[in-house]
Symmetry: C3
Subunit: 208 residues, 3 copies
């Protein structure tokens, strides 16, 4: 097991993904809002992307099956939501930053894992992005909503830019810790700028 | 292959899950209600949870790929639905008991399989529950509805209690057949009581 | 790697699935219609069925992770959509034929892969069908719609007939290239006839 800097950041990301998923369950009008619904939505949001990456790669055992700490990080996030639901709802601005840090780290770690499996660059970039966004996609689908990645300002694309950058810097033999920090910072920067200035990708119109 | 008591109970559970999925398709207004829709919804409901457990564990070959009997049990359930749709709709009370027995057995078998793979207790408990409930979650998602686990009286939580109990009794070296019967009975008992007395978990409210 | 006839037909099928997925995103009213949404919907449609087949079989590495050409075929389909959206929308009749060819080939290739893994006939037939249809199922689910396989004229059933035929001819030791052509042609023929004459399977009615 790897108890490095990125490991603890990853656990923090898991906790924040859990909180964002649990809050989404609380805000959904068709949900029962009971303890289980809130826990399970947080759990799925937190582990969905990494699990899909791992089963697509055949990277067994899957992270949360191997490392119980991930489940305790989820449980901690869940406890915070049931103890302090109003506070966390008010802190959404602060949570946004945390969530953004989470997708930055997740993108890079996912890309790293794919490269370590000898996967081609194109697929590695996609798997890095999928690691970061797919928990949210599953959360929204279970909520019976069109996934936010199809609606919001630049989100998945920020991850894609970060994973491509990580691969390029990796080919150039940049130190992997430096690369982790630079590439995930670029994800965070693009996402923060996109939200602040309401930036989206060009649209394609076929119907007038 | 294991032709024990729990094997045949498991096949019966598969058949009942198929029937419940197929009836859900028949009752859905946006569905075509043709032979394929009914079969496929039953199939997905029956194998969804176990398949997700197996691919998360890397437990290959997946149960229905390895054991054709599972598919014949599904086919038998499907035949019953197309031959006796009105009867089965009337028997819903009786089917509820069968479905409850099914989730009880599934929970325990799923937990057992996870423990046999050397998985930590927390993840094993979750995988036991996922085995039992996720076929229904996929069924509801394909039906474009919020999954029933987010709406109904205590359901997934009953499975979680059963899988935790199985793990505790397993640590205490209780005979595994005794443990199977006790733990799955607890799932059934909680579920029956929850439906009879309309019991749910505490809700969390953030909006007044 | 296999650069045979069926390999190139498979790549053409991937490209057409991408186009059909991307056009579906463009036609969906709740979507943002930006470059990423269109790409990602096309990507999921193209690789969803094969990926689900591979992870169910434990057939690693998954096709698009192993073979970058699949991703370039997807990228090419995506480029065509963003460069020629109006033209492709008008060509839907022609694309229908291509899509039908795609599901024919996919069904047979998926069945072949399952048989090569020593899977029983019943499961192989289902996995052949799943290879062909599940990308579309995931696409529709992410679009928050009831999957088209539950609505349209005979579609999945055509695949099921084709996979069963492939298995029968395989047992009879028919040459595998001949079998590929015959079985996929049967899928295409059933689908074309079903659309032309608006054929559906018998419905099951329980409510009057």
């Amino acid at each position: 097991m790897d108890f490095s800097f990125s490991y603890y950041i990853g656990l923090a990301g898991i906790m924040v993904f859990t909180i964002s998923g649990a809050l989404a369950a609380l805000e959904h009008k068709d949900h029962h809002h009971d303890l289980f619904s809130v826990f399970f939505t947080g759990f799925i949001t937190a582990i969905g992307g990494g699990t899909l990456r791992d089963i697509t790669l055949g990277n067994y055992p899957v992270s949360w099956v191997r490392d119980e700490n991930i489940l305790w990080a989820i449980f901690l996030g869940f406890l915070l939501v049931i103890l302090l639901p109003r506070l966390l709802t008010k802190l959404k601005g602060e949570l946004f930053l945390f969530d953004t840090l989470g997708i930055g780290i997740y993108t890079v770690l996912g890309t790293r894992i794919a490269l370590d499996h000898g996967v081609n660059f194109f697929a590695s970039a996609l798997l890095g992005m999928i690691s970061a966004i797919f928990g949210g996609v599953i959360r929204d689908t279970l909520m019976n909503a069109v996934p936010f990645i199809f609606r919001k300002e630049i989100y998945a694309t920020a991850c894609l830019v970060g994973s491509v950058l990580y691969i390029v810097l990796n080919v150039w033999d940049v130190n992997s810790n430096v690369n982790l920090i630079v590439s995930s910072s670029v994800v965070v920067a693009i996402r923060v700028l996109a939200v602040r200035y309401n930036l989206g990708l060009p649209k394609i119109k076929i119907f007038d």
